[in-house]
Amino acid sequence: MTETSTLPRIDSLIEPARVHSRLYTDREIFEEEMRRIWHRTWVYIGHESEVPNANDYVTKSIGPTPVLMVRDRQGEIRLLLNKCPHRGNQLCAYKQGNRATFTCPYHSWTFANTGELMGYALPDGYEGVSKAGVGLGKVARIGIYRGFVFGSMAAEGPTLMEHLGGAKAALDQLCDNSPTGELELTAGFLQHRTRANWKFMLENETDGYHPGFVHASIFQVTKSGIANLYGKDSTALTRDYGNGHTEFDLRPEWRRLDTPLKWFGTSEERLPEYTAAMKAAYGDDRARQIMIDGSPHTMIFPNLFIAEIQLFVLQPMAVDETIQHVTAVQFKGAPDINRRLRQQTMGSVGPAGLLLADDTEMYERNHRGALIHDPEWLVLSRGLHRERRDENGFRVAHSTDEVPQRGIWRHYLSLMQE
């Protein structure tokens, strides 16, 4: 932080089991987060299946900054910034499409979808000027794991694999639920505008304490046994993978029930094609285990939330505004489960979702509360006395404990201080 900043030292706002309200509401802290987190660490951009063909592109983002995720004519994924290097005009005005070149509408400079300048309009005015080095801005580093495309604005830093660490297992677990091992995110995203700081979402995604209260209405109406997963006797775990990645691990409960597809509220009989495809792909025993364990509930810092059957992407727009992008997980080669995945996703999430509209109500109330100065500190001490290490050395505790939130802030502090 600069000498002239009015900011307090960030380490004076974060303690192991409590955080200061100002972290959610201070504009300078938000700007600092953009520099030290969003423009530096690995951020999830999109999935390869969203640009299946050569020259496909889709507009994604890193925080408020739009990023064009492009598959160039050679088939390589590129992450370009949507700004003409001439006078700064927004280059592409469309959300997605297929094109080999982008032409700026202002003075008609044309760029290849690799980012290189192909030509000036009225080139006589640029006699002797080289086109080299005049291309579009790029996200400095691209990392792809199992189709998940991440970008880092920093030219140097930890590799994507170092960043993902233990949370890589969640991406594997998700992909293993596909009979082909691949996802196809083809259903489009809902965009839920939220008048709250992004970190309320980051913290809530793996909060196992809230569902029994925030979602009591839908559990009651659907007479769902799911509420028990969030109760005192639940054997589910909260987990801190380090690097800000956190998890709500339901596998202990599903293994206790020992029934394939119970995690998805269905059965092998009701999804015969999917079940057959899984057994053909993995063998009976492994397929059965995958279908018992189900899909993960994991928040990959800072913006990719795997919510079993949905993928959320968090996009902070301002200190008090965040967009939650969400789509249904779709498994390549599994039409019968995909239909059900879409139907359940549409019911649960997005602006009208039977679940997420209530979470989002809480985010907006969280934010209004954070603006009140007394008490200044918010409490994250739940389960501190029963935190322990799992077999891989990651911190875990009871399903309702605040292990994930403490882990998020530990990592946040390290990034904001470096």
Partner: protein, 173 residues
């Protein structure tokens, strides 16, 4: 309900355009009032068993069987949605949104047997804890005449800004 609508039998094809338009408009205003006043049970009872209640996202000609929609309810999910609102613990509607909607540009598009297809524009003012929100939509309806009264078979709410991020939409739209 308007006693005029309870006359039976009514042959839609035999109605004058003015009479048909009037009956359609009266029904849309009734639905609007039930929604604005959170009359959940009465609104739910307007729906037929083969209902589709649809708010598309990312455009107006998407395939709801393939693409994500903001809302895509069949009859049983409409019931779940209403039952959730009635628990009093649907937090996003406790307190409830204050609502007033205007319906205009009503056009009867087609009559087929006992069913009539309708277009209308709607502007909804919402006030809640977050603040004031305006919702604008081009709606499409399929209404069915049952025992002399219209019922909802299909309602598509085409939010004009559905390709952009929108705030929580938890009242009956």
């Amino acid at each position: 309900m308007d006693p005029m609508l309870a006359e039976k039998p009514v042959d839609l094809a035999a109605l004058s355009p003015v009479d048909l338009h009037h009956r359609v408009a009266q029904f849309l205003y009734l639905e609007a009032r039930l929604q604005d006043t959170h009359a959940y049970d009465a609104w739910e009872q307007l729906w037929e068993d083969d209902a589709i209640y649809w708010v598309p996202a990312n455009g107006h000609d998407t395939d709801p069987e393939r693409q994500m929609s903001i809302l895509y309810d069949n009859r049983s999910r409409i019931k779940v949605r209403v039952e959730q609102l009635k628990t009093g613990r649907r937090h996003t509607q406790t307190p409830r949104s204050e609502l007033a909607r205007l319906i205009s540009n009503i056009e009867v598009v087609a009559v087929e047997g006992a069913e009539v297809s309708v277009r209308a524009n709607v502007l909804i003012y919402e006030d809640n804890l977050r603040g004031e929100t305006l919702w604008a939509a081009r709606n499409e309806y399929r209404l069915r005449l049952v025992d002399g009264a219209f019922r909802l078979v299909r309602k598509k709410i085409g939010l004009v800004n559905n390709a952009r991020p929108v705030f929580t939409l938890s009242f009956l739209v």
